[in-house]
């Protein structure tokens, strides 16, 4: 009788594709619960009861999966069960029944099989549409173009597969800040392998990327300033199709955000030169992972400048670098000078808000110059600098005027003090005269 009911249920609720026919019963049951779980997913994740967790929550890892862990998993919240990936019968309380080959139990999948296993659902557009129509379904295809995917195909099981980045049994969506693939956590996830020198021994690539990135301005933007649009590993390397951009395409990657710098670079003599040398465009000066906040010292002929790595005294590049550096520091110094003067005036109680406004424009010019320098043509940089110098000059004059007003006040004070002293002197004489008069008059 139960089989008749279940067959009717199947007919009523057959989902589009349940990839394990013997498990369709289980899936039908869990599909019944789907609305309930969807509704309560945010509030109290009510996952389908499965006999697997009842036993396995008591085990230590690696076979242990706790109730809490599984309840946090997005698959559990959407109504799938252990059997969805591992096969078997999630309703059968006995181990023999639950993990029977007859019920389709597959046990722990081999690492090399995992991408295909996940892709059984995640690459099926029609299936995924039922759950989240905006989720991509090309992850497997991308993965197969990646270094990880290519090596896995050759049999290397040390490389990352789905569960290494997304974790397993407690997978959270990427928007969840606790997820291992949330932008805030991506670098840590990649570093689990890529910073492990012992693990990476056979691969002949460096393991200092995470350390470098952690010191970079991109890391600072995301973690310290909270800008989630800042780049992390996957931004430049891709996530499923992860591979380092080729030397020729580095500029393309950086220029998705740094548009102006790339455009200017394209007009500069460096473009052809770097291409000929086979060095990446941006990373030659800025490095790839340890991209620190650039200062004016990065350009020029000083100790910290990168220009002297290629240019030597006497060549035109050396001279250009020197000119650009001098120009930038000249404007910076002029702006600082006028700023200090305005500070002094303000502290003396003078009103300088108009000058402050213009000061901001002056700093704009300096910011623009620091972008224009990517053309590596001193004349172009000169234009921005001149505009800034003019403004710095005006604001400096405003500061001088404010201080002159302050001095005028002090002169006014001086005059008033003099008149007061005169009155005091007069009063002194008056008192003396009155008192001597009193004494003579006999008071």
């Amino acid at each position: 009788m139960t089989s008749k009911i279940t067959r009717r249920l199947l007919l009523l609720l057959r989902p589009a594709s349940c990839f394990l026919p013997p498990v369709s019963l289980v899936l039908a049951a869990s599909c019944l619960l789907l609305p309930a779980t969807l509704w309560s997913a945010e509030a109290r994740p009510q996952v389908a009861r499965s006999s697997c967790v009842e036993c396995h929550s008591a085990f230590p890892p690696p076979t242990g999966v706790s109730e809490a862990q599984w309840a946090a998993d997005i698959h559990a919240q959407k109504g799938l069960s252990c059997a969805s990936c591992h096969g078997g019968d999630a309703n059968d309380p006995s181990p023999e029944g639950a993990m029977s080959k007859k019920a389709g139990f597959r046990g722990k999948p081999k690492r090399t099989e995992i991408p295909a296993l996940c892709a059984k659902c995640h690459a099926d557009g029609a299936y995924m549409r039922q759950y989240n129509p905006s989720l991509r379904t090309d992850q497997l295809a991308q993965y197969q173009t990646s270094v990880h995917g290519k090596r896995l195909a050759k049999g290397d099981s040390k490389v990352a597969v789905c569960i290494d980045c997304h974790s397993v049994h407690g997978i959270r969506p990427a928007q969840d800040t606790r997820s291992t693939v949330n932008p805030l956590n991506v670098a840590n996830t990649c570093a689990r392998c890529h910073s492990d020198a012992a693990y990476m021994k056979d691969y002949k690539i460096k393991t200092d990327q995470f350390a470098g990135y952690s010191a970079s301005v991109h890391h600072d933007a995301m973690v310290v300033r909270g800008d989630l649009s800042a780049p992390t590993c996957t931004t430049c390397h891709g996530n499923h199709g992860a591979a380092p951009p080729g030397v020729a395409s580095v500029e393309n990657v950086c220029s998705t955000c740094h548009v102006f710098q790339a455009q200017l670079f394209d007009t500069s003599p460096h473009k052809a030169a770097f291409a000929a040398m086979g060095t990446g465009a941006c990373i030659t000066c800025h490095s790839n992972h340890r991209i620190v906040h650039p200062t004016d010292k990065l350009i020029g002929t000083g100790n910290e400048a990168v220009c002297t790595n290629c240019h030597a005294a006497g060549d035109p590049g050396f001279a250009a670098a020197g000119r650009i550096h001098d120009d930038l520091t000249k404007l910076d110094a002029a702006l600082k000078r006028s700023d200090e003067l305005l500070d002094k005036a303000e502290r003396s109680g003078m009103e300088v808000s108009q000058a402050r406004l213009e000061e901001a424009q002056g700093r704009d010019s300096l910011t623009k110059a620091r972008v224009t320098l990517h053309s590596f043509q001193p004349d172009k940089v000169e234009q921005d600098i001149q505009a800034g110098m003019k403004i710095a000059d005006t604001t400096y004059k405003a500061g001088v005027q404010a201080l002159a007003e302050r001095d005028y006040r002090r002169k006014g004070l001086g005059l008033t003090l003099i008149t007061i002293l005169v009155v005091l002197a007069g009063l002194r004489l008056y008192i003396r005269q009155v008192e001597s008069r009193n004494q003579r008059g006999g008071n």
Partner: protein
């Protein structure tokens, strides 16, 4: 009813015709005559007599500069800060008027305290001058009220939080504390309503009461004359001096005028060389800046409260502090009635109390400044 014969004012003999004309209509010669004979004792400690007059002079300065500020100040939370900024930067000599007002306020509180302590140590509060002392103590509290209410008016961050803390402490007084807090704040929290209320206190209520009390205070002084400190009386007995007193008009007044002009010079210099800061506009939603302290004249009380442990037995430490200051204030107001005879033994005890109070206030103020 038979009508009284019209009493014409006596004919004035003043040299100035205008003055004579006015006197025939006001009849003030009769009233002012006693003033011409008013004398001021001359002795080693006569200079202390200036302090009262300087305080009065500074009060007049406050009223005049305050009226000028009223022409441009706007008492709403949205505009108060900007209006003071406007006065400081756009109005011709606005910086001068505002800085003089702020500096003179501080100077006045200082001279008021100095005046009170000098009266205490020179024993000028004993019979028959009890009411002068009483009115003077109330005036001192009013002056502190002026300082507290005026401080909020620029609506900057420091003032906002100082007011918050100050009214909070007031709220701790038992029984009447909470209603008093709501009365002062114009609500539960410090808001624009508080500003409007403080403005009303500062420019109407307090000046009205203060003017009345000053009139009473001066009237009493004129009627009772200046007191001579017991130590000088003894010195006079031992060695009678050539001159025991000088006429108020013109001698003493000329001296006072010198003191007032010096005060004017000091005020002008302070205003021009150390203009009063404006700070940043108050934002009720920002956390209080670290290390917030009240102005120096409240610092000794604030520092005392900070030093008392949070709980003393079952009672709140802050409450003990507030009650302590309340009791001290009450004793201070009632000193003339507690001291007994002017030359009695209890006066020595009161002098000791005075020295302790002064030393304590100075020490706590300095401590409050240097403490983190």
């Amino acid at each position: 009813m038979a009508s009284l014969p019209e009493a014409a004012p006596p004919t004035s003999t003043h040299s100035n015709r205008l003055v004579r004309w006015l006197d025939e209509r006001f009849g003030w010669e009769e009233l002012l005559a006693p003033l011409r004979h008013k004398t001021v004792p001359v002795h080693k400690l006569s200079y202390w007599y200036f302090l009262g007059g300087i305080t009065l002079f500074l009060f007049v300065i406050q009223v005049l500069t305050g009226i000028l500020l009223l022409l441009y100040y706007r008492a709403s939370a949205n505009e108060a800060f900007e209006s003071v900024q406007y006065i400081m930067t756009q109005v011709q000599f606005g910086w001068l008027v505002r800085s003089i007002h702020s500096w003179s306020a501080n100077l006045m509180i200082f001279t008021a305290f100095a005046h009170m302590f000098s009266v205490l140590f020179l024993r000028a509060y004993t019979k028959p001058r009890e009411l002068t002392w009483l009115s003077g103590m109330v005036l001192l509290f009013l002056v502190l009220g002026f300082g507290f209410s005026g401080y909020l008016l620029p609506w900057n961050t420091l003032a906002f939080f100082a007011t918050k803390v100050g009214t909070e402490i007031t709220g701790q007084v038992p029984v009447i504390g909470k209603p008093l807090l709501i009365f002062l704040r114009g609500g539960e929290e410090v808001t624009g309503a508080t500003l409007t209320r403080f403005f009303g206190f500062h420019v109407a209520l307090l000046p009205g009461i203060t003017t009345l009390l000053i009139a009473v205070h001066i009237l009493l002084i004129q009627r009772l004359g200046m007191s001579v400190p017991p130590s000088q009386e003894a010195a006079w007995k031992a060695k009678p001096p050539a001159q025991r007193e000088m006429p108020f008009f013109p001698n003493f007044f000329a001296h006072e005028l010198m003191a007032w002009y010096i005060a004017l010079g000091v005020l002008g210099a302070l205003a021009a060389l150390y203009p009063w800061e404006l700070g940043s506009k108050a934002d009720p939603f920002v956390a209080a800046p670290a290390g917030i302290k009240p102005e120096w004249y409240f610092l000794f009380m604030f520092q005392t409260l900070k030093l008392i442990p949070a709980k003393v037995g079952p009672i709140d430490g802050e409450l003990i502090g507030i009650l302590g200051f309340g009791v001290a204030g009450l004793i201070w107001v009632l000193l003339p009635f507690l001291g007994g005879d002017r030359y009695g033994r209890r006066q020595v005890f009161i002098r000791g109390l005075g020295v302790f109070a002064l030393a304590y206030m100075l020490a706590m103020t300095v401590y409050g400044y240097v403490a983190k």
